[in-house]
């Protein structure tokens, strides 16, 4: 069994990384949700679509499903978007088609 984790008060308030598809489409010409990211906190890798997105803060915060560390944060102002990716070591973007 996994370690017992403290009850998450926001357990019900997150979305999948899929929900980042629209906001990130303003910045990237490819679908970033299908890209594989590597978490800077625990090293696990997986599609951006599987991150946990908390939409109710200022902007969108995407956390690692394995360690809950913040992988990516996006804040949209009227004419600037701030993308903080220090929680992602890298992004592997499929360019198949």
């Amino acid at each position: 069994m996994d370690a017992i984790v403290p009850a998450d008060p926001y357990a019900d308030s997150y979305l999948d990384g899929n929900a980042l598809a629209g906001p990130l489409s303003e910045l990237f010409a490819v679908d970033v949700t299908a890209a594989v990211s590597r978490c800077a906190h625990c090293g696990s890798t997986g599609p951006v679509a599987l991150l946990r997105v908390y939409p109710r803060g200022p902007g969108l915060t995407a956390r690692c499903p394995d360690c809950s560390g913040v992988v990516l944060r996006l804040v949209r102002g009227p004419d600037t978007a701030w993308l903080d990716m220090r929680g992602a070591v890298r992004l592997a973007v499929p360019l198949a088609d």
């Binding site: 357990a11 899929n18 679509a49």
Partner: protein, 251 residues
């Protein structure tokens, strides 16, 4: 074709586009399908969604995501909206928007929670409430493309009156099995007593893990969480489970 349409999109960042409401259909007492006309709509893949933006006269604007309900159809797009009591956007879309009115949309987006016609493996769809919407798009795309991929749908809902797309699902399709899991009250003659989706339901009505199905789970966050945990415990490869959480009350 769906693939060509989506590929053509790569290389261009998406912009907000005007969408005009042309038709609305009542699905249940609290859910409607809204049909929008979007000039130049390039099509979509089953499972993708759009972001909807509403802007008030004073400039305040707010956005929500809605799944595409239909298989591809040039220039037209269908969303099915379930009214969330006290919600900001969903009651407006259902009651406040008139035929001829315009909203802004951005999409189609999302390349992960999709089913493509070239997929041949068995598919299990697990829907909680309005989480049926993108899964119905997959069922419709399967039919439209003449796919033989075997599909099973497990649809969890409170009671018979909440059934979305009831006529379509009743008409059925060869190779599609539909099972309703009623959580509050089941229709006369139902063999399964009402209750939340249980591990036994997934065993009985889903696919065995060694069939290597792709599983799509969609609905309110708590529902998706519980179903995904059960599927993994039953031996399904987490890499074959695709989830779309609608949020705390999205269903």
């Amino acid at each position: 074709m769906a693939r060509a349409a989506v590929s053509g999109r790569l290389g261009a960042r998406l912009r907000w586009q005007a969408a005009t409401l042309v038709e609305r259909r009542e699905e249940t007492a609290s859910a409607q399908t809204l049909v929008f006309d979007v000039p130049g709509w390039a099509g979509h893949l089953a499972g993708q969604h759009v972001d909807v933006r509403l802007t008030a006269e004073d400039g305040y604007s707010t956005q929500r995501s809605y799944s595409l309900a239909s298989a591809q159809d040039a220039d037209r797009l269908e969303l099915t909206v379930q009214r969330v009591p006290d919600g900001e956007v969903s009651p407006y879309l259902i009651e406040g928007l008139a035929v001829g009115d315009r909203i802004e949309i951005r999409g189609p987006v999302g390349g992960w929670f999709v089913w493509r016609p070239e997929q041949r493996e068995p598919v299990l769809l697990v829907a909680g409430g309005s989480g049926l919407v993108p899964l119905m798009a997959m069922i419709r795309a399967r039919e439209a493309e003449g796919s033989r991929a075997p599909f099973r749908l497990l649809y969890s809902l409170r009671e018979p009156a909440d059934r979305l797309y009831a006529p379509d699902l009743e008409r059925g399709s060869a190779g599609l099995d539909v099972t309703y899991v009623y959580t509050r009250s089941a229709p006369q003659g139902a063999t399964r007593p009402p209750g939340r989706l249980a591990p036994a339901d997934l065993v009985q009505w889903g696919w065995p893990p060694d069939f290597e199905p792709t599983v799509y789970v969609c609905g309110p966050t708590g529902f998706v969480e519980a179903a995904a945990v059960q599927l993994v415990a039953q031996g399904h490869d987490p890499g074959r489970i695709r989830t779309e959480r609608f949020g705390p009350s999205g269903g």
